[in-house]
Symmetry: C2
Subunit: 204 residues, 2 copies
């Protein structure tokens, strides 16, 4: 079983970004609210109109407005006795942008750290005469080793599993663990039995 005790669980999303996502998700997580958005897309409406159109009681509309307004999707325009609810175009644009940003963030691999004394020492310790002595238990060291092994692959090329195994076996016999580690660390990707590097090597 994998040894993971020393791994720090970092995340590319800040706490604030995560909370903002939850607020957005909550706003979208109910069909009545989505239907409200759909209706407001045609024209702004006031509460009783919405209640009648959706066949719910007026207090229900009021309650649903809270998450929609919190998420910045709807704004309220007061006119006489009425409150006209209308889509907040800026908010919805922000929503579209932010989800794209999050999607991008989630898939931006962490940058490779520069070559360092430490890295060289770790590599020298674990790789002797081109053979991996043992797979390091500590994440950071394992990371160095995996990046070193990745150098034996060519940027932009697709490899099938046999080729991957052949290359990895020059380092270590447990190629299954090495393969998994490459995927886990997002150094390589796999799809339909084909493997490839996620990004080019950074330093020669």
């Amino acid at each position: 079983m994998p040894e993971e005790t020393n791994i720090t669980n970092s995340t590319p999303l800040s706490t604030d970004e995560m909370k903002a996502l939850v607020v957005l998700g909550r706003a979208l997580s109910d069909l009545t609210r989505i239907r409200i958005l759909g209706l407001l897309a045609v024209r702004s409406m006031y509460g009783q109109e919405l209640a009648q159109a959706l066949d719910v009681a007026p207090p229900t509309i009021s309650h649903h407005m809270e998450p929609l307004v919190s998420a910045g999707l709807v704004k309220i325009r007061r006119e006489n006795n009425y409150r006209y609810y209308e889509l907040d175009s800026e908010g919805i644009e922000r929503l579209a942008e932010s989800t794209q940003q999050v999607a991008k963030t989630l898939f931006t691999p962490e940058p490779l750290p520069p070559k360092s004394e430490e890295r060289a020492r770790v590599v020298a310790t674990f790789i002797r005469d081109g053979r991996l002595v043992t797979i390091p238990a500590q994440y950071k060291k394992r990371r160095y080793i995996m990046e070193e092994i990745a150098r034996s692959f060519e940027w932009g090329r697709l490899y099938d599993e046999k080729e991957v195994n052949a290359i990895m076996r020059t380092f270590h016999d447990d190629v299954a663990s090495l393969r998994r580690e490459m995927i886990d660390q997002r150094i390589m990707m796999r799809e339909n039995g084909r493997y490839w590097l996620v990004r080019p090597h950074t330093q020669g």
Copy 2:
């Protein structure tokens, strides 16, 4: 009070699109699930790792995976006894695209219907010698009238409220109702007291 009885409540979102949005919203509506996404963005993890990292019991992870997988954000890779959860890059791209699409849809005004006999008849009935006799109660007719009045505005120009009132008063004295109707029907937009047409006139 506005007369709305004859208005059909159409929406630019199909039922399927709405349901898909709800599924997505549900997936994002819980902080634990967002944190799972954040962790998986760094590397794929199996259940007990996630449980330990988030300080929850393993069944909780199992439960959270259902909405994440349903929404297409996470996929499961089985390896020995473990189940490695990993981000579904295609799913997340689809998510980003679809929210953008929805945002766009929500703000695409319904196309102006072509000039028709009926439209001409309605306009002739309600506008006599350049004066609006009365504001039609029926939505469709009101729509025709508003589009007719919109022709007196210039595409691409900003108007302040005084100018809007001056132009509208040539049609009818209740300029407040006309202004609101323009906004409601998304023929005009307003921001900081400035008004403008949402789109150009289609037919001369």
